[in-house]
Amino acid sequence: MEPIVEVENVSKQFGPITALAGVTLDVPSGIIYGLLGPSGSGKTTLIRLIAGAMRASAGQVRVFGRPQPSRANAARIGYMTQAAALYPDLSLRENLTFFGTLYGLDDRRLRERVEAIAAEVELADRLDSPLHTFSGGMRQRASLACALLHEPDLLILDEPTVGLDPVLRRAFWERFRRLAAAGRTLIVSSHVMDEADRCDRLAFLREGRLLATGSPSELRQITEQANLEDAFLALAAGTGSLLEGGVR
């Protein structure tokens, strides 16, 4: 089966800064794909390229077989940015209605989905309060709700669980798992290694380069480390053959 996302030798320059250098990876359908790496390693940059928020300096990103950014893909992708990136003066309902309408939901479906998604992220009772009255975690859930509203086939979530308490974090990951089980594809970035085990496949990024890709068990195996944090460190220390990333 054709992968949902194909990243081919992609680089991104910001002036003198190389945010990504020659990254190649495929995301198959129906899984949770984790992008892991320390701060500044290029996770957000890669995510923005996949979401179609900007263009690569070199190489190509294809989503659903079409080169990004593509207008035709837009409605099938849900994107949760690293910051909440919603409208704090507007109520949750107004935010959801706005994004839902942009994604082409008709009035009836929009009403249904707004109620359903608010209940799902446990914000049904706050639908009509403005977002600036929300706590950080509530804002994060509101942001996720806006990305999920139109039931996209591909969900791209940039550090969705940062700043969440353990209970909420578990709830988020259970929700991601349910979505993947329902056939959606998720790309989730994180710099927390204990989240890596919850993904089906992983890509380790460091200083704009891909260290390795593979399932958590594959990565443990090739590095001969018991936990993924050590696996990452071993890869980052960079024994030559491992940098080639034999596991794709």
């Binding site: 923005r48 179609g52 928020a53 263009r55 994107y79 990136a85 919603l86 409208y87 507007l90």
Partner: protein
């Protein structure tokens, strides 16, 4: 282009400002306050008339006649005093000027012109011109009355094509104030809301959504046009019905010109907001974008009275054309036939700004 998406964006903008009391105050109350203040300044009767000290040295009949004439001038308060007291009063600012009528002042037909001396403080040009204006208005008349009690043999009889004898500075200013506030607030609100869109990161959500760049620009224009139209309506109604300013125009044309100005201002705001990173930096655009237009677009001084290079500059500013058109519509009752140049220039400015605004959005995804 999808109308539903454009409307969604316009609706969002309305929702964002609907609850923002400060912005609503800025939009709808400030223009009314400014107009009221101007009305008070130009129509209130608090203005203290110029005080003139007269030193009447000889008490000649002509001198007495001149004193009476000046006393009758409503713009002057006249006090007679001796020379020393008068100079002291001028020095202390109790009087604005001292007029000295010499002892031998009399009519000497055919003789050389006689001098009467006015001493002015001179440090305030408006007082100087008020004193000189009153004197040049009143003196010839009173002198002629000395020989001919009917006064000047030739009288000026004004006839007005537009406006009238009651027409004052406020009538002249009000139409332009409307255009100025629309431009100012729409520019400010668009650049701030666009900047927020960028700094909060929501612009990224818009860019990856099915919303096109053109739709973003159209949505913004639609949302702000609504506010601009409401603001123009409030300001015009207040000026016409509460301040009773001179108004013979067509409200439709007022809205047409306001609309063109709004479209230009929205896109100028979108365009310039790319060059700002904070709201303070947006505010720093005001001296650059707003102040020159306030000074040069004929709001305060007629453009003809400016030095020539500044006149050229004035004719490069959109507000100049809007101000002229709004005055034309409201004061002279001009129709489109007389204002098509203004219409074309404003439409051209709007199109140019739309192109610039859209192109900045295109660069957003670079």
């Amino acid at each position: 282009m999808n109308l539903r998406r454009i409307l969604a964006l316009a609706t969002r903008i309305v929702h964002q400002f609907r609850r923002d009391r400060r912005t609503l105050f800025l939009l709808f109350v400030v223009p009314v306050l400014v107009l009221s203040l101007l009305a008070w300044i130009y129509r209130g009767d608090g203005a203290s008339p110029v005080t003139l000290a007269i030193v009447n040295e000889g008490q000649s009949p002509l001198a007495a006649q001149i004193v009476t004439g000046l006393q009758e001038d409503a713009s002057l308060t006249v006090r007679e005093m001796d020379a020393a007291a008068a100079m002291r009063a001028l020095d202390q600012g109790e009087v604005d000027a001292v007029l000295t009528l010499p002892a031998d002042l009399s009519l000497r037909p055919g003789g050389p012109p006689q001098q009467i001396e006015v001493t002015l403080d001179g440090s305030d040009p408006s007082t100087t011109s008020a004193v000189m204006g009153a004197l040049t208005r009143t003196l010839p008349e009173t002198v002629v009355r000395a020989v001919n009690p009917a006064g000047l043999p030739i009288q000026i009889e004004p006839r007005f094509l537009h406006g009238g004898p009651e027409f004052d500075r406020l009538d002249y200013l009000a139409p332009v104030i409307i255009g100025f506030f629309v431009f100012f607030f729409v520019f400010l609100l668009t650049s701030v809301s666009f900047l927020r869109e960028r700094s909060e990161g929501s612009i990224e959500r818009l860019i990856v959504s099915p919303l096109g760049r053109g739709e973003i620009v159209l949505g913004y224009m639609l949302g702000f046009t609504l506010f601009a139209a409401l603001q123009a309506a409030v300001t015009v109604l207040f000026a016409v019905y509460a301040l009773r300013i001179h108004y013979v125009g067509n409200l439709g044309l007022v809205f047409l010109f306001t609309l063109l100005l709004t479209l230009g201002a929205v896109n100028l705001g979108i365009f310039l907001s790319t060059f700002a990173r904070t709201e303070l930096q947006v505010v720093q655009f005001i001296p650059l974008v707003i102040v020159p237009q306030a000074l040069l677009s004929g709001i305060l001084w007629p453009i003809d009275s400016l030095p020539e290079p500044l006149q050229w500059l004035a004719h490069a500013l959109p507000l100049t054309y809007a101000a002229e058109a709004l005055r034309g519509v409201m004061i002279r009752g001009d129709g489109l036939a007389a204002l098509w140049v203004n219409l074309a220039v404003l439409a051209g400015f709007a199109v140019l700004m739309i192109v610039l605004g859209t192109s900045t959005l295109r660069r957003e995804a670079a």
